[in-house]
């Protein structure tokens, strides 16, 4: 398995036990500050009777434990991460320094406003920038993630209809290509989801949409470009039709990387958009979070924005907690400030002159990958794509190979797999999103690997595909067993 053409080779990797399998120490390794004094007598009756059982390692042991674990991970700093609809791009290192400046890291959310004007100014500016980029000028920074932004937006849309006395709008139309969070968010806001079938080109079918529009439709939730990587070219007409029927258009901003600085959702007629700053604006994914999902809206929805918001009067910035028609808060503070500040730094680096280059290079990269792979893999919706391209395993199926095998083989060749089995509108989906921060050399390397896999399938040379992955610290894991008898905590 020592194939040096690709980078997926095993190095000096260590097995690392669980913390709980190490000797339990009574002592702490940390010398702590604080006052020496007795536990208050009033608390005596509430004293914890049995220690929790938290191991407590010395500092050198703890560092080695977590460093070894870190080495079992793939990250964007380690290698290419072509996850469709996830926008895994380089996370600038300087951002880590910025958010650790004591004057930003050690602010209390309820310290006097006058003592936090610097932070409020940065956040206010970000609100303005996001509104400008979205073409929807009113912004809340509160939502903690994309799905949280969806929920916030749908709550606002529902509040908007109800404020007009239009109370029977309880349906949200969602294309069958949508992210799973869309219907889940609508349900949390108490609305029913009706799925609309995509047309033959993977785009929204106007006739299908018209057939579903009625005076019970609160909103259409759509992603543009859609999850097949295609721009909804009829977007203006779609929005017009929805508005004509009295509904609003919710934009899932997960794919904003294709459009940023090139075209604005607000100009298309979209009323409300969440922005995944951990995608488009490069804040680190952290192994699953934290993200942030600011929501930008037009004038009609502005009165319903959640509180608190940051406002400016004269030279002074305020956190405003009350507004007559606000849906109320959706989060315990103004937002995931550390995440938002990183996004502000990314936008600041591009500025008005260069912001569109995010989209132009992202789209260039996706089309380049598509051009190189389109003969070897089935392309369900031919033509140019936007920031991601969609392939399927249809050709490889003839050789008994499916998407999962291709994904796992990529690991051995040194790449994180693409998004697999999503969107659901095609069988065996492989959704590839390279982002703007990858070089041509990396893309070529990845395409070479994909083409080699395709050739191996053609040649019937499929053993490595079935067995993959062989390189990482673990091979394929038994997910069925994990779900059938869930073991979620360690028992000594």
């Amino acid at each position: 398995m020592n194939d040096t053409r690709y980078s997926g080779v095993a190095g000096l990797m260590h097995e690392e036990p669980l913390l709980f399998e190490r000797a339990h120490k009574a002592a702490t390794s940390i010398s702590l500050p604080g006052v020496e004094g007795d536990t208050p007598a009033a608390l005596a009756g509430f004293a914890r009777k049995q220690a929790a059982g938290i191991p407590g390692l010395s500092e050198p042991e703890a560092v080695r434990h977590f460093v070894r674990l870190s080495q079992w991970n793939h990250g964007i700093e380690t290698g290419f991460y072509p996850l469709g609809s996830c926008t895994m791009k380089y996370n600038p290192r300087v951002h880590e320094n910025l958010v650790r400046l004591p004057g930003l890291a050690h602010l209390h959310p309820d310290q006097p406003e006058a003592t936090a004007q610097g932070a409020l100014a940065l956040l206010f500016e970000l609100q303005e920038w996001l509104g400008e980029i979205a073409g929807l000028p009113h912004v809340t920074l509160q939502p903690a993630a994309g799905a949280h932004g969806e929920l916030t937006g749908i709550m606002m849309i529902r509040a908007y209809h109800e404020a007009r006395g239009d109370t029977k709008r309880r349906i949200v139309l969602v294309p069958d290509s949508a992210h799973g969070t869309n219907p889940a968010s609508a349900a949390l806001a108490g609305l029913a989801t009706v799925e609309i079938k995509s047309g033959a080109d993977g785009r929204i079918d106007l006739d299908e949409l018209k057939a579903h529009l009625s005076d019970e439709v609160a909103a259409v939730m759509l992603t543009n470009p859609n999850t097949a990587g295609a721009f909804e070219s009829e977007i203006v007409e779609i929005c017009r039709l929805v508005h004509e029927a009295g509904g609003l258009v919710y934009g899932d901003g997960a794919n904003l990387n294709a459009l940023v600085g090139v075209a604005r959702p607000g100009d298309m007629g979209i009323d409300c958009l969440h922005i995944n700053v951990h995608k488009t604006f490069s804040t680190p994914h952290g192994g699953g979070g934290p993200g942030a999902g600011p929501v930008a809206v037009n004038e009609a929805l502005a009165p319903f924005l959640p509180m608190p918001r940051i406002e400016k009067s004269g030279d002074h910035y305020h956190i405003v907690h009350e507004a007559a028609n606000s849906i109320g808060p959706v989060f315990g503070s103004v937002g995931q400030v550390g995440v938002l500040l990183r996004a502000a730094a990314y936008i600041a680096a591009f500025g008005r002159e260069h912001l569109h280059k995010i989209a132009t290079d992202a789209v260039l990269n996706a089309n380049y990958v598509l051009a190189r792979l389109k003969d070897a893999y089935h392309v369900p919706f031919p033509g140019l794509c936007k920031h991601e391209c969609l392939l399927t395993d249809e050709i490889q199926n003839h050789h008994g190979i499916k998407t999962l095998d291709i994904a796992k083989r990529l690991i051995d060749l040194g790449f994180h797999p693409m998004t697999v089995y999503f969107p659901l509108i095609v069988h065996g989906a492989m959704l590839i999103e390279p982002t703007e921060t990858e070089s041509k050399a990396t893309l070529d390397h990845f395409c070479d690997a994909m083409l080699e896999i395709a050739r191996d399938c053609e040649a019937g040379n499929v053993e490595a595909l079935h067995e993959a992955p062989l390189m990482p610290v673990r091979r394929r894991l038994d997910e069925t067993q994990a779900a059938r008898k869930p073991v979620l905590v360690w028992q000594d």
């Binding site: 004094g37 004591p102 006097p112 799905a147 108490g190 721009f231 315990g332 091979r475």
Partner: protein
Amino acid sequence: MRFLPHTDADRSAMLQTIGVKSAAELFADIPAQLHIKEGSLNLATALHEAGIVRKFTAAADANRHAGNTRCFLGGGTYHHFVPAVVDYVISRGEFLTAYTPYQPEISQGTLQTLFEFQTMVARLLNMDVANASMYDAATAVAEAALMARRITRRHRTVVATSVNPRYRAVTRNYLSWLDGEEIEVPCTGFATDLEALIAAIDDNTASVIVQYPDFYGSVYDLAPLREACDRHGALMVVSFGDVSAFGLIEAPGSFGADIVCGSGQALGIPMGFGGPHIGLFACRQKHVRQMPGRVCGMTEDADGRRGFVLTLSTREQHIRREKATSNICSNQGLMCTANATYMTLLGDAGLATVAQRSAAALAQLVAGLPAHVTAAGGARYNETVLSFESNAVRDRFLKLAEERAIFAGIPLEKIDPDASNEHLLVATTEMIEATDIADYLTALEASK
């Protein structure tokens, strides 16, 4: 542009491979009237890295913060000590820049850490299982209310007003879109009124939500609440603001709580002006399939070696769509790593020391209060309410304290719109030294 690797020659070659003449052709599917003119957006002009550092440093320098003041602020966010190792671990690119561990073979680092995190959280709260995080305490409480509705198939939620008003407001908001009712039971004397709360439980009640220690720092016996919940078949939900308490006082799980949720910010996460923090969420094993959020489980690989995967995903939005237990997708992953590292460094003994010193600092402060200020009585962990004779005296004190680089407390009405304006919510941690308490008391004396 330093984040964009292509040369113009690369771009030309790639366009040729694609078979188009210009990058503009790649955007031809976007109707012409939607294209915006390059450089026309009302944004700042681009900054080089040094310029960004200068801008952010200037903004940071304009702020006062817990590093150059003495911070007695709490209300759900606390200035505890964060060991350098925590920050080092979460700065490692393999943790920081990894995606959600959907490909477990190359995500075992994140997954094993999550498993350790879940185990330590469950142990600290004395619960059966914990999930791999919620956004924050407020949304965790809201999700707990929803989970209790699913389990009991009842639609009435009872909340004590001694639960942090922000947790209540978010919960009220989440519940307001669904059928059912939310009842808020008032408290007296800045403590939880268990009797009134128990009286509000009926046979239609899905859950009773309390905070322990409550929003005002009060610690109380949850056993009567457990009995009352049992009588009516309601679930007992216990929230918390400063999880460090459970290094010292009995954990919520020891009182038989069904769901325990709150903030994990105290475990190695800086205050950060309100985020990112983390929502901890734990429940009983029998309810695990109704739990929101991601969860990591133990299993084996094809060679029979122990490994970890995200599991129970049939509860989640990407499988179950509108029938999912929650819409949550991205969570606070990296903050789990911070919590896990912190707890590993401190261990039981360190956690006990942090809690003991946090509580002792408050006790010393209260013991030294001058006559014109009273503190809410009874058992308090590291937080209480100081009451002044008037708003004028309180604000005079706040000003005096600020001049002496002390963030002396949160005006209660700022978080709780129902509170009058002569109270101050005051919190202490192990970061408060004896001299800080002395300076605080001197300022109080001077405010008379």
